[in-house]
Each structure stands twice: as C-alpha cells, then as structure tokens.
C-alpha cells in the first residue's frame, strides 16, 4: 500500500462533506435567461460515491462547475448555498479558492484527457500540481508522482512520456492521478469514461473504486449512463430539466424507482443479462429551459400525469421512505408509480 500524506482537515463522519442547498444557476443568453439548475438540494457524505444522472442539458455538468466555482459568464449563481464541511464556498475569495480547489475538491471531466499539456511530460504535470499547492521539493514531488502513477495503473517508466504517446485510457488515468495528487476529500468525476471503450471503462471504474475504498475520499459521479451508476454509486440523484426529481440508494433506484421519469429511464436501455424485454423510449424530448413547462416539468412526457394537477402545481420534493426522496404528485396522493 502506498503512503499518502495526512489529511489537512479532519473529516467528521456525521456531517456531510458537501451540502448543496436550493442552488439556482442561470445562463444569460440573448434569447433570455436559461435556468439550468433550479432549486437543487443534496448532501454528499464522507466515504460516499454519490451519482448524479441526467440527460444532456439537464444541468448536471453545471452543478459540477458551480461546486468548484469554475462557472464563468454567461453562467451566474442566482441563489442557494454550497457548504464544504463548515466552509461556505460561495463566500470564498479567489485567492483562497485557488488554494482550496484541487487540495480539497478536484475535478476530472470527460475532455480532461485532451486538456493535458502536449509539450510537457505527464510527470512534470503531476509534479507541477503538487508543487503549486505544497512546499514539496522536486525529489519529494517526483517520488509522489511515481506513487500516483502506480496507483492508477500506469507503468512507472511512463513518467517521462508525453500525452501523445499514451492511449486515451492511459491519459484519462494520468488525469485521475493528478486529481488524486493532493489527496482531496472530494473528487468530482464528470463523465470520466464516456469517451472510452467499455473494457477500459470498467478497468478504470474498478481502479477508482479500489482507490476510494483505500483512501476514503468522497466522489460526485456525473453521467448519463444510469446502468453504470447503479453498479458503482452508493446513492443516486436523478436530474430532469434543471431539477432533482429523485434521490435514493442505487439499489432502490434500480429495484423500485418512485418517480415516473426514473422508472421510464431505467426501462429505456436494454440489459445484457436476464430476459429480453420489449423497451420503449420516453415520448417527446427534454424541454427547452428558456420556457420550461409549468407545474411538474416532466408532465408533457408523463403517461401517468394527473390531469389538472401536474401541469399546474409544482410537486414537492418529499421523503417517500427511509433515504428515498422524490418529487411527484402521485406520491402525495399515496399512489405508487
């Protein structure tokens, strides 16, 4: 097992690592404001792999950018709060933020493997990340870089390789090594394996899982691939049109989804094992957020919508059973979808 440095903050297992509350984010475009994230609330606990699933345009990547405070105009935070342990991330000035980011929260995005600097070796890029945040000398940083490469399954000799000499999977591993470099409490993985083939995807996911078990950091895993999340995440939040419609432990999402959208989503991709079922896609397409549907945003595509209610009244996000939350009028009337 490879030794990593002591954590700078002591993690309390009884408080969330990250608490996002009523978050609202807008993109101001020429055609009006798009409310990409509208009143999103969730917590991520120590040691947890928290999955955030949704289709393109549902606002999941915007959340990742907002948490790391990487949101740039025309994107604006309009309301809500983000707490990292006992620190208010919204109040943080850019100087503190620069030191905080990467040391406590790091992010790996889908295109990260293409964001490596082509004229520097991957070793140099890992060492740079370490030295930018810690008073390590070159030898210490290099030793650490070697450890990190080994952790993510890259051969030690590769420390002097340039990214064009590495395959897509290796480059994404190198980026994960950089994300782990400062031993952060939270790692945000935004579609980290979408551009990769399934075999490489599984290898990387299993490595991430092993590392998570070894070091106990938390993960916010963002993807459109619900079947992947059900396998890897502890809890899953389902996003639709800027809102979270359901949060539950992954086996509950898989076995007994409460929101009609989750139910339809779980039934819209074929399974590789078990009986072959006739599948249907969800009618219509995700709404335009410049003028989202009134009431429940899913109602125009929902087959079990209650006439007169769902199109007028926005459903309340409420507890349906232990650890299981959903926003649907059917649940308020005591009926199950």
């Amino acid at each position: 097992m490879i030794k990593m440095q002591l954590k700078p903050y002591s993690v309390d297992v009884h408080t969330p690592i990250l608490a996002v509350k009523d978050l609202e984010v807008e993109y101001r475009t020429g055609r009006g404001a798009v409310r990409a994230v509208d009143g999103v609330t969730f917590d991520i606990w120590p040691n947890e792999i928290f999955g955030l699933a949704g289709e393109s345009g549902s606002g999941k990547s915007t959340i990742a950018h907002t948490i790391t405070r990487l949101l740039r105009p025309p994107g604006y935070i309009v309301g809500g709060s983000i707490q990292f342990m006992d620190i208010d991330l919204m109040e943080m000035d850019s100087e503190t933020l620069r030191d905080f980011r990467w040391r406590h929260i790091s992010i790996v995005s889908q295109s990260a493997m293409n964001a490596l600097n082509p004229v520097l070796t991957i070793g140099t890029q890992i060492i740079d990340a370490i030295q930018a945040h810690e008073p390590a000398n070159k030898e210490q940083a290099r030793a650490r870089a070697l450890d990190l490469l080994q952790l993510v399954g890259i051969d030690k000799e590769r420390i002097n390789s340039y990214c064009h000499q590495l395959s897509g999977g290796m480059r994404q591993r190198a980026v994960i090594a950089i994300a782990l470099a400062l031993n952060p409490e939270l790692i945000i993985l935004d579609e980290p394996t979408t551009a990769l083939d399934v075999v490489v995807q599984r290898q990387i996911m299993e490595e991430i899982q092993a590392l998570q078990r070894q070091f106990g950091f938390s993960i916010l895993y963002i993807t459109h691939d619900l079947s992947l999340l059900v396998e890897f995440a502890h809890r899953i939040a389902i996003m639709y049109a800027g809102e979270i419609v359901e949060i539950a432990p992954s086996d509950r999402i898989f076995l007994s989804p409460k929101h009609p959208y989750t139910y339809r989503l779980m039934n819209s991709f074929p399974a590789i094992s078990g009986p072959r079922q006739e599948l249907q896609s969800i009618p219509g397409s995700p709404p335009n957020l410049i003028s989202p549907p009134s009431g429940c945003r899913f109602h125009p595509r929902c087959e079990v919508a209650i006439a007169g209610t769902c199109q007028k009244v926005e459903p309340v996000f409420r507890k349906v059973e232990r650890d299981h939350y959903a926003a649907c009028h059917l649940l308020e009337q005591g009926r199950s979808s």
């Binding site: 289709e55 393109s56 395959s167 999977g169 290796m170 083939d197 399934v198 075999v199 490489v200 995807q201 599984r202 299993e206 899982q209 459109h224 691939d225 619900l226 079947s227 992947l228 059900v230 396998e231 890897f232 086996d251 898989f254 339809r264 989503l265 819209s268 991709f269 074929p270 399974a271 590789i272 094992s273 078990g274 072959r276 599948l279 249907q280 896609s281 969800i282 397409s285 995700p286």
Partner: protein
C-alpha cells in the same frame, strides 16, 4: 437464418489497408483483415467491437465509400466491385443505403428537411410528377413518425431534436426503397431516453419492409436487443459469430467474454466483478502480426496462439469462433 438461406449481400475475405503519413511513407494501418459476412433479407446482423476494431470500415466498404484492398462484395451473387461508373454506383446505392452516427453532421445544415429528402428521389429518378413527389415526402415522414409532416418539411436540421434528425436521416435512406441499410452507431449520439425509439423504428422497418440491417455498434446490450445475429470484431479480425442470445449469454471467445463482463449491468451489481481479467490494450494496427491479435492480452494464451491465426471453428447452434481453445470442433 432465412428460409431460402441465400444472402442478399455477402462480403468475402475483405481486407482494408490505409496508407498513412503522406505519399512517401510506408506506414500501413491494417484496419480490416480477412473478414467475411452475409446479410439476409429481413434479418438484423450486428457488428460489435471497440473503437478501432474495423467495424465502421467494413460498413463503409459495403456501401462502397471505401475500395477494399482485397476481397469481394457480392450483391445477390454478383461481384459489385467489378462494376464501375456512375450508373453502376447509382444502381448499387439504390439497394444499399447507410445511416451515420452523427445526425448533426450527416444532414446539410443549410437545407430544409424537404430538400434533404427530395435529393435522393431526384438523383435516383424515383418520382415522375410534382404530385407524386409530394405524396412520397409525406409518406416517408409518416413512416419515421415525423408528424405532422407539413411541419417538418420546412424545418432546418438545427430546429429538430437529435432524435428527430436521426429519423429524417432514416427517411432519407428509405427514399430509394433500399433492401439493405447499414446503420453505423445510429443511436450512440442520442439521449438515452430516446434511443429505444430509433431502434424500435428500425425493427419496425425490418418487419414491415423486410429490410436487411447491418447494425454497427460498440454497445452489446443494444445489439442483443435489436439484432438476430452478432459478429464480434477485434483489431481488424472477426473473432466470433453467433445468434444474439447465445453470444451474449454464452460467449465462447475470450475477447467476447472480456467485452461482455465489461458491460455495465445493474442486475449484476458489484457482487460479482468481471470474471475475466485481461491486461494491456488493443494492439497497434500498423505492426505486422502473426497469430491471434488477442494473444498478448488473453488469459488462456497457448504457444500456438502466437504462431498462427486460428481458423474459424464451427460450433453447434449456427455459430463459430476463431480460437484454438475450441480446436476439437471442425474448422470451416
């Protein structure tokens, strides 16, 4: 398989080499090596593999966008590679059409849906009057469930959703009433909630119009759902062929086993991890290799695997596998 058992399109021993790095370079990428396959009427064949396995190259050779380096393509028994010229190509393409992965770039952004659908009808002279043309456009859009049709005809691609664009691309392929449609990753760029709609539409076309599909994909689960038969590609070679259920529930080639155990499966959860472990990555296609391309990664590798490529060995139940582990079977 089909009742008469005669393929409408057949590829025999296809080879495709790409020369890269300029005119004087000798570097060759061996994208497809000795691949044979048959497509039957009203039958869906899936070609499954990872990126770089050669599956799209095969589809492009079959629609004659690429000229094969070696091998034959037979349409109803006639070698189409021998016939050249515009007329021959037009005739062939009116039988064999293709749908591409990205409906955002396969439709011309400066033209309306009406224009995109009229083009094949005009080029292939499928309609005799203005009235007939209009009826045909209505009918095509109705077939792919883009209704009300008048609403779609005047729209530009950017005004349509991804799923609608792919439907228009399918309507365009249908315009010439093809017998065969080669669909290259037709759903992988679409949102998950609408993917099944496109697969179900293609299934309907197979059932109602008896169209033969070649479904090129990296997604084994969707291949199991849509295809009758699955062919697995690895590094330019076809390594296994079997009816979909048999292939996905009882894979025989070690690579197919690796691929299957890598597919996310919520039902399996993490209680069992991938049963087969393979090290390393897909080989470099520029190197000249002897033996099985999967040998360097294969957990069951034997000395002879590195010496020669195993032949296609027939197994029971209309399937075959290219692997020495099954040598007690008969070579075909």
């Amino acid at each position: 398989m089909t009742e008469d058992g005669v393929p409408i399109l057949e590829a025999r021993n296809l080879v495709k080499h790409f020369h890269i790095g300029g005119m004087l370079s000798r570097q060759v990428v061996r994208a497809v090596q000795d691949v044979s396959l048959s497509l039957y009427r009203g039958h869906v064949t899936a070609l499954v593999g990872e990126s770089g396995s050669g599956k799209s190259t095969i589809a492009r050779m079959l629609v004659r966008l690429y000229q094969p380096t070696e091998g034959e393509i037979l349409y109803k028994g006639e070698n189409v590679l021998k016939s050249r010229g515009r007329q021959a190509m037009l005739r062939y393409r009116s039988r064999v059409q293709m749908i591409f992965q990205d409906p955002f770039s396969s439709l011309n952004p400066v033209h309306t849906v009406e224009h995109q659908l009229k083009r094949p009808l005009l080029i292939h002279r499928r309609t005799r009057s203005k009235k007939e043309m209009e009826e045909r456009l209505q009918e095509l859009l109705f077939t792919v469930a883009c209704t009300p049709q008048y609403d779609f005809l005047s729209k530009y691609p950017h005004q349509l959703s991804g799923g609608q664009r792919q439907r228009v691309a399918i309507a365009r392929a249908l315009a010439v009433e093809p017998e065969i449609i080669l669909a290259d990753e037709p759903i992988s760029m679409l949102d998950v909630s609408i993917r099944m709609g496109i697969l179900n539409l293609m299934e309907l076309l197979r059932d109602e119009k008896d169209i033969s599909f070649l479904y090129v994909t990296h997604d084994l689960a969707s291949a199991r759902y849509f295809a009758d038969r699955i062919l697995v590609m690895y590094a330019g070679h076809m390594v296994e062929a079997a009816p979909s259920e048999e292939l996905t529930q009882n894979p025989q080639h070690p690579y197919t086993q690796l691929l299957l155990s890598s597919v996310p499966d919520p039902a399996r959860g993490l209680r069992t991890r991938s049963e087969i472990k393979a090290k390393g990555e897909v080989p470099n296609l520029s190197a000249v290799t002897v033996g099985c391309p999967f040998a360097p990664r294969c957990p069951f590798v034997m000395p002879k695997c590195q010496e020669s490529m195993p032949p296609a060995i027939a197994l029971s139940g209309d399937r075959w596998v290219r692997c020495y582990l099954h040598e007690e079977g008969t070579a075909i």
